[in-house]
Amino acid sequence: MTDFAANEPSRAGFLRDKIFLGLSPRQYLRSLLTPWDAVYALVLAIGIPCIVYRFAYGLGAATNLSQTTPWGIWIGIDMLSGIALAAGGFTIAAAVYLLGLEKYHPIVRPAILTGFLGYLFAVAGLLCDLGSPWRLPVPIFYSWGTRSIMFEVAWCVFLYSTVLFLEFTPTLFEWLGWSRARRAMLKLTIGLTVAGVVLSTLHQSSLGALFLMAEPRLHPLWYSSYIPLYFFVSAVVAGMSMVIVESALSHRIFGSQKDPRPHVNLDEVTIGLSRAAGIVLFAYFFVRLQGLVDSGAWHLLPTKYGAWYLFEILGFILVPALVYAHGARTGKVRLLRVTAGWTVLGVVVNRLNVSVIAMNWTLSPHYLPSVIEMITTLTIITAGVVTFRWIVNRMPVLHEHPRYAVAPQV
């Protein structure tokens, strides 16, 4: 409510009100002396030199990537998992603006912010991974490899990041107090939502389609011609689960800015999302089985990889689907949140399986990430969390800006 009275802030007032949370710089710095801030600072203090090292000495010095294993966890976790977990942005926006499920209105903004930052930091991970990241504009502006799935992914990620940013601008403009710009952006809501669904459908599935080319390298239990479909469906589940996890954490951590609106019932939202996620997950389990039937790779089930495969599709897909349904039926919100976290982990495991663990499965010794790779991944995730917190502490994401507040009539 602090912004409420600040109609025409001066420049100094802007810094104080908008950046330092209404504190003096000294007070603000002191407010950062918390255990969590110390952990973040430590991770960044170790991680940023690691990233500098990677760019100074090259990928060979910093990673365990090799001529036979060109893709590691920077692709598997930062890029593939990051993009999948950021799918909540388009899922929730579509549910609210296209399907009219007003119940989920209060989580649209955090979902879109999570999505936007997810893409931003996925691209950050990609920049670390690319040999020549300074040529990132080449596929966009200079040389179009139109027959490449990677080209399509690059364009979709580029466009969808822009869409997510535009979807986020009303929040930004409310923070800055730019009413006219905000008004203009709100008129684009439906268009941006449709664009978001279309672009997400394309690149979430195309990230899977990338691996259609890797059939000679990928374990037959994970290789499937359905893999684009798998990636898309699991991204929808991951997005919804991530929104459940993120809203639960936000609710606890940013409790002070808990939404004052009486109609906002996070439990209801959690139950509704869980039910949807459970149903999609249940269907996803069966399409994975279709891939198994189709691959004819039954004989590989009683192997180490086979056991790991069974663990993935049972432990990370079928079981969470059933627990989701049970929790939604009985209203056990805490159970649902744990299930959501488990499902998110399952999608990360799936992306790692496809891109790293079951890739080059005949190769020995198999790739393991280097310490620098792991620290860099951790650093990028931490940077995402810190950025999320920075924005949420300042902009009307979890609560509504009092001046523009909307009361859904559900």
Partner: protein, 298 residues
């Protein structure tokens, strides 16, 4: 891999419409490749393992001098790398008079190469003349070509801060000057024959037919991965001499093209479907607002 063709068509699952268009997206074998595209025939029965091709390749491409093919080197199973675009390996064979064979490996210069198709910036390019060449100034270093190549050919300069992909270029610049590739020029034993791919296929068939019982009746590269510019014939089973078995006979890029065929369909059909859903819900909301209107005017 008898399932391959069937699975290939099923990629269309991401968009039913794909089935109609995807399979035929690229019916002709190699778009934009000339009928007189070049090739190279490797007759593994003739290779003596002298390493002349390695040395010539290094010189022509400004690479470090390769090790001499002594017993120590030949005991290793070497692969190409950023500093060696071609290597010769020795293979012990069974059931033949000679106990060992020497086989040269390098980029196969596929008729429809996966690497060039998957490259988001066209840094790798299949030329009409046959060679698959590389434009480093466009390369992002994403290494998708490495993941996609069925022959594990593209190699990456991991040790450099500004790295490039390196691989055999089929001496495309020499060819443009009317010269034959350096390896073929150097080869003293006649193991390498340079020519048009079509002529070399004919030559290979003739060698197989005219020496009954000598060769395995298979030209490696005629159909592997949809066909390659480099062709191998051998008198022992091909997997004994390190030539990868079990590759698709469809060009690998077809898989991607089938998936990509769904893109315009999604772009075209999703928006009207989504807007339809939106309109349905907007109508429903308006209907529910109606009782209010009555209340207002009572």
């Amino acid at each position: 891999m008898d399932l391959t063709r069937r699975t290939f068509f099923k990629v269309g699952a991401i968009g039913a419409a794909t089935l109609a268009t995807g399979g035929r997206a690229e019916a002709s074998a190699a778009p934009g490749v000339a009928a007189d595209a070049v090739g190279m025939l490797v007759d593994t029965t003739l290779c003596i393992g002298c390493g002349g091709c390695e040395a010539a390749c290094a010189e022509a491409n400004g690479l470090p001098e390769p090790p001499s093919l002594d017993e120590e080197t030949l005991a290793l199973r070497r692969t190409t790398d950023p500093r060696a675009f071609t290597v010769v390996n020795r293979f012990a064979v069974t059931g033949a008079a000679e106990p060992e064979r020497f086989v040269k490996t390098q980029c196969m210069h596929c008729v429809e190469p996966a690497c060039a198709t998957v490259c988001p910036t066209r840094a790798l390019e299949k030329t009409a003349a046959g060679p698959v060449i590389y434009h480093g100034d466009r390369c992002l270093g994403c290494r998708y070509c490495m993941l996609s190549c069925p022959f594990d050919v593209p190699k990456f300069e991991y040790d450099k801060p500004a790295p490039y992909i390196r691989k055999c270029t089929f001496c495309a610049t020499r060819q443009a000057q009317g010269l034959v590739p350096a390896c073929a020029e150097m080869c003293p034993s006649g193991a390498l024959t340079f020519g048009t791919r079509a002529a070399l296929l004919e030559e290979a068939r003739q060698r197989i037919y005219q020496n009954p019982g000598k060769y395995v009746p298979h030209i490696y590269g005629e159909r592997e991965a949809g066909g390659t510019s480099w062709l191998y014939i051998s008198d022992v089973p091909l997997d004994q001499v390190g030539l990868k078995a079990g590759l698709d006979q469809e060009p690998y890029p077809r898989r991607a093209q089938t998936a990509l065929a769904a893109v315009p369909m999604v772009l075209t059909l999703w928006p009207p479907i989504l807007m339809g859903l939106y309109a349905l819900n907007a109508n429903r909301r308006r209907d529910e607002a109606d009782p209010t209107e009555e209340t207002r005017h009572d």
